[in-house]
């Protein structure tokens, strides 16, 4: 395990009692967590190989409390790490020992649903899925659907600019958020955007989304809600080889068809997910696509006919349509529990690079070769329509050599994505995981420009400071 953390600031550690005493009056008593046992619950996120117990945990209940805590920490030079549900896969929410964690879990109310304007105003700690649940009776939904949607928060989604299976058609978080209320490190409360389609001045909301808790802390968001399609139907397409499946994806898009989702699974992933979800996935194929179409029965039939035609030109072996709501649910359950199901078999790390879809076949082939050469099993399950790969590299956590080699290979695969014309992360964020690879994708000038923008919001680098930018060369 080789990702370094910055050395903790001894002066802050020495002043811990004083800092806690200063925080206490700013929060309700139960909202400040100080005991070792309770703090330990916040020591890591879903990137579990790394952990640090924070100085304290603050769980504010209002924007004003967030502001008061930040203002105090700003005065005292205390670092702050924002945390939603802690499902980050890149270590974005992992604290450091000289920082406090600011958790948004108590800001969990849906404040207003505005159907005439097709927007909802929610607090940052609201879970992704609960937004859809709040509007589904009226035929609406919140579009970005990360597989973690039951747990992850809208604040975390904004932090990471999260995506999901249905983003091919509906876009990712940044395309579905119209405004945020946020607090800067010095306690200033800012409203970026709002309920209108755009806002005056620079697109500060645009740079806030995906900023991984480094520019400010979101306390409220205004999101777009969209009308649900009349109906939706996922169809399974089995191929002998990943190459054929990859080429089929490119051909579908090239033919001007954008299905609402196109998810890819290789043989290993199919076996793992089928064992878990009993979704009726074909076990005797080399690769599978889940392609979902939407609309009325007539429209879905017409679009499917075109897709099946194209698939036939790519030697599709199995075509299996969902025949019922139950089958549809099972098909998606299998896909959305891919990480959990893999986790039952082995420890894994999940990479998240994106490549041009034309490079999918090549990158898949190289991924297999690289993992095999190092003796790691790998399952590939990912958003094929937008080229966002998710190789799950399996390893044995009790064997330090295996863990180190998995980590090494993961980074090699990310470099492969950049070499193929893509990027290090499509939706999971840089966090600590890819921080030291940033120079592989960006020049020094690129990074410095980003860091200067970061410094506009947080000149002292107190917000989630160990993330995203390589530790050396900051100033």
């Amino acid at each position: 395990m080789s990702i370094p953390f910055p050395l903790p600031d001894d002066a802050i550690l020495a002043r811990r009692d004083e800092i806690l005493a200063g925080l206490a009056p700013l929060l309700p008593p139960e909202a400040l967590i100080t005991t070792e046992d309770e703090r330990r619950a916040f020591e890591t996120d879903a990137f579990t190989a790394y952990r640090r117990v924070p100085l304290a945990v603050a769980l504010p209940t209002t924007t004003e409390e967030v502001s008061a805590v930040l203002r105090f920490c700003h005065e005292q030079g205390v670092k702050v790490v924002a945390r939603g549900a802690g499902t980050s896969l890149s270590g974005g929410a992992i604290p450091q020992t000289d920082a406090i964690v600011l958790g948004l879990s108590k800001l969990n109310r849906i404040l207003d649903v505005n159907f005439p304007n097709r927007t909802a105003r929610v607090q940052a700690g609201v879970t992704n899925l609960s937004i859809t649940e709040a509007v589904s009776a009226e035929g609406f939904f919140y579009a970005p659907d990360p597989s973690s949607q039951l747990a992850c928060t809208i604040g975390g989604n904004i932090g990471m600019n999260s995506g999901g299976a249905h983003c091919l058609k509906y876009g990712v978080t940044t395309n579905n958020v119209l405004g945020v209320r946020m607090v800067q490190m010095d306690g200033t409360i800012l409203d970026l955007g709002g309920e209108a389609m755009d806002a005056p001045g620079y697109d500060l909301l645009g740079v806030m989304v995906g900023s991984e808790g480094q520019l400010g802390i979101v306390t409220e968001a205004v999101v777009r809600i969209l009308p649900m399609a009349e109906d939706a139907r996922p169809v399974l397409f089995g191929f002998d080889t990943s190459e054929e499946a990859g080429a089929c994806v490119a051909a579908i898009i090239g033919a001007g068809i954008i299905p609402v989702a196109m998810e890819f699974m290789d043989k290993e992933a199919i076996a793992i997910c089928e064992a878990f979800a009993k979704a009726g996935y074909p076990l005797d194929v080399g690769a599978m696509l889940i392609i979902e179409v939407e609309g009325s029965a007539v429209e879905m039939d017409a679009q499917l006919a075109k897709i099946i035609d194209i698939a036939k030109q790519h030697n599709v072996r199995v075509v299996r349509e969902s025949k019922s709501a139950m089958e549809t649910a099972a098909i998606w359950k299998g896909r959305k529990s891919a990480f959990g199901a893999t986790g039952r078999l082995a420890d894994y790390i999940c990479m998240d690079g994106t490549v041009p879809t034309g490079q999918l076949s090549y990158v898949l082939k190289r991924t297999g070769e690289i993992c095999a050469a190092a003796g790691h099993r790998v399952a590939n399950v990912f958003h094929a329509g937008d080229g966002n790969m998710h190789p799950l590299i399996m390893f044995d956590v009790n064997d330090p050599k295996s863990a180190a080699s998995a980590e090494y290979i993961g980074l090699e695969l990310l470099k492969l994505c950049v070499d193929a014309g893509g990027c290090l992360t499509g939706e999971h964020g840089v966090g600590i995981e890819k921080r030291d690879l940033m120079r592989y994708q960006f020049t020094e000038e690129d990074l410095r420009q980003q860091m200067r923008v970061r410094a506009v919001f947080d000149p002292q680098w107190l917000l989630n400071p160990a993330k995203v930018f390589p530790l050396d060369g900051r100033n």
């Binding site: 940044t174 309920e195 620079y202 001007g256 041009p356 080229g387």
Partner: protein, 399 residues
């Protein structure tokens, strides 16, 4: 400096860097110009020289099967659109062409489209220019070539500077290359028209259409009609033939409580939406100042009522009511005080899109920002362009 308004026309990003480096040494400011078609947009720029993208042209990457195109910033929009049309694709956000509005005749460039973040009627369905822009290269005020984003559809690597530059009106740097994601061009389109609705009913009808599963890609209301006949509420569907017929019928049924719907198809429908994208219903008349109001749709009619009480205005709604185009006689302040008050009440903002120079010199063109936002805004400007070389004062004093 001696030669006022010298034109600088780099042929490469490298040359652009050299120009900016020199400008920095000589303390020149530079007005960035693409096609010069939006010369009337923004505050007038008092600059020492024009930095033009006229020679920075050419499509650098087009992968139809990956729905992505990159072009140098000075590439005429028409060239990009022709290349896309040949493969049955399009820029999703329906880039607006404001030549009619400004009475200019240059060729709009793809770089200026990115710099201005101006989107047409389809914005409600497929997103704004800022949603489609996935990569930029730019030269900042320190004469460094900087990239952000890339050519892939999903990318959260580092801060999203692409969004910051989109809509920065050339105040953060010279865009040298831009990359957009694309959509397949729909095979067919139709416009459903409701006649004679008042504003309130029209917004409700558009709201109903936009809350339906039928993916309405344009929703506009013209209170005095397109051809001066009377109020028209327009709803656009863009689909393949099978789907279009089905959805037009479903939508007609759904909106029956608002009246009988007429239907326009094909090129007639397309021409109508081109006019709306180009603000033709108001652009024709020279003289009046033109405002663009962006606000929550459910507050649109109340806002318009407040404005009409004190100002003689012609106007129409787009984006289902989320956008109001407004023409007023210029007067001293082009109605700024009353319009800004009414739109603020509605939690929206107003941009003065067209007005004589003397008004744009004294009135804010973009809605003024509060102190905290202005501080961040000035900081961002500083972080890209510490010496204030590019388009000084185009958006705000000092920005």
């Amino acid at each position: 400096m001696t030669q006022l308004m010298q034109r600088l026309e780099p042929q490469s990003e490298q040359e652009a860097c050299a120009i900016v480096k020199q400008a920095r040494l000589d303390r020149w400011s530079l007005a960035i110009e693409g096609g010069g078609t939006r010369a009337g947009l923004g505050r007038p720029v008092p600059a020492d020289a024009v930095l033009s993208t006229r020679r920075l042209t050419g499509i650098t990457l087009y992968e139809p099967a990956e729905l992505v195109i990159s072009a140098r910033a000075g590439t005429p929009l028409a060239e990009v659109e022709a290349a896309l049309a040949a493969k049955g694709q399009m820029l999703p956000f329906e880039p607006a062409d404001y030549r009619a509005l400004y009475g200019t005749s240059g060729e709009p460039t793809i770089g200026a489209i990115a710099a201005c973040n101006l989107s047409g009627p389809r914005r409600i369905q497929t997103g704004a220019a800022r949603d489609a822009l996935i990569g930029v290269r730019l030269v900042n005020g320190e004469a460094q070539a900087v990239k952000s984003g890339g050519r892939v559809m999903k990318n959260v690597t580092g801060l999203d500077l692409v969004k910051l530059t989109c809509g920065s009106h050339g105040t953060l740097g010279l865009l040298t290359e831009v990359t957009f994601k694309l959509l397949p061009r729909p095979q067919a389109q139709a416009t459903l028209i409701l006649d004679g609705l008042d504003d309130e009913r029209a917004i409700a009808a558009m709201g109903s259409a936009l809350s339906s599963p039928f993916e309405v890609s344009g929703a506009a209301h013209l209170p005095t009609g397109h051809d001066g006949t009377g109020a028209q509420t327009l709803l656009r569907l863009e689909r393949d033939d099978v789907s279009l017929a089905y959805r037009a019928q479903k939508l007609t049924d759904r909106l029956a409580p608002f009246g009988a719907l007429r239907r326009l198809e094909g090129e007639v429908s397309a021409a109508l939406w081109r006019d709306i994208a180009q603000v033709k219903p108001l652009a024709k008349a020279h003289g009046p100042a033109i405002w663009k109001l962006s606000l929550p749709a459910h507050k649109a009619t109340a806002c318009m009522r407040a404005i009409s009480e004190s100002l003689g205005a012609r106007y129409f709604y787009d984006w289902g009511g989320g956008l109001i185009w407004l023409a007023v006689m210029p007067g001293d302040d082009a109605g700024a005080l009353r319009i800004r008050a009414a739109v603020a009440e509605a939690h929206g903002h107003a941009t003065l899109m067209r007005a004589p120079d003397d008004i744009r010199k004294t009135q804010d063109v973009f809605a003024p920002l509060g102190a905290a936002l202005m501080k961040v805004t000035s900081g961002i400007k500083q972080s890209f362009d510490p010496d204030g070389i590019f388009n000084p004062g185009r958006m705000y004093a000092g920005v």
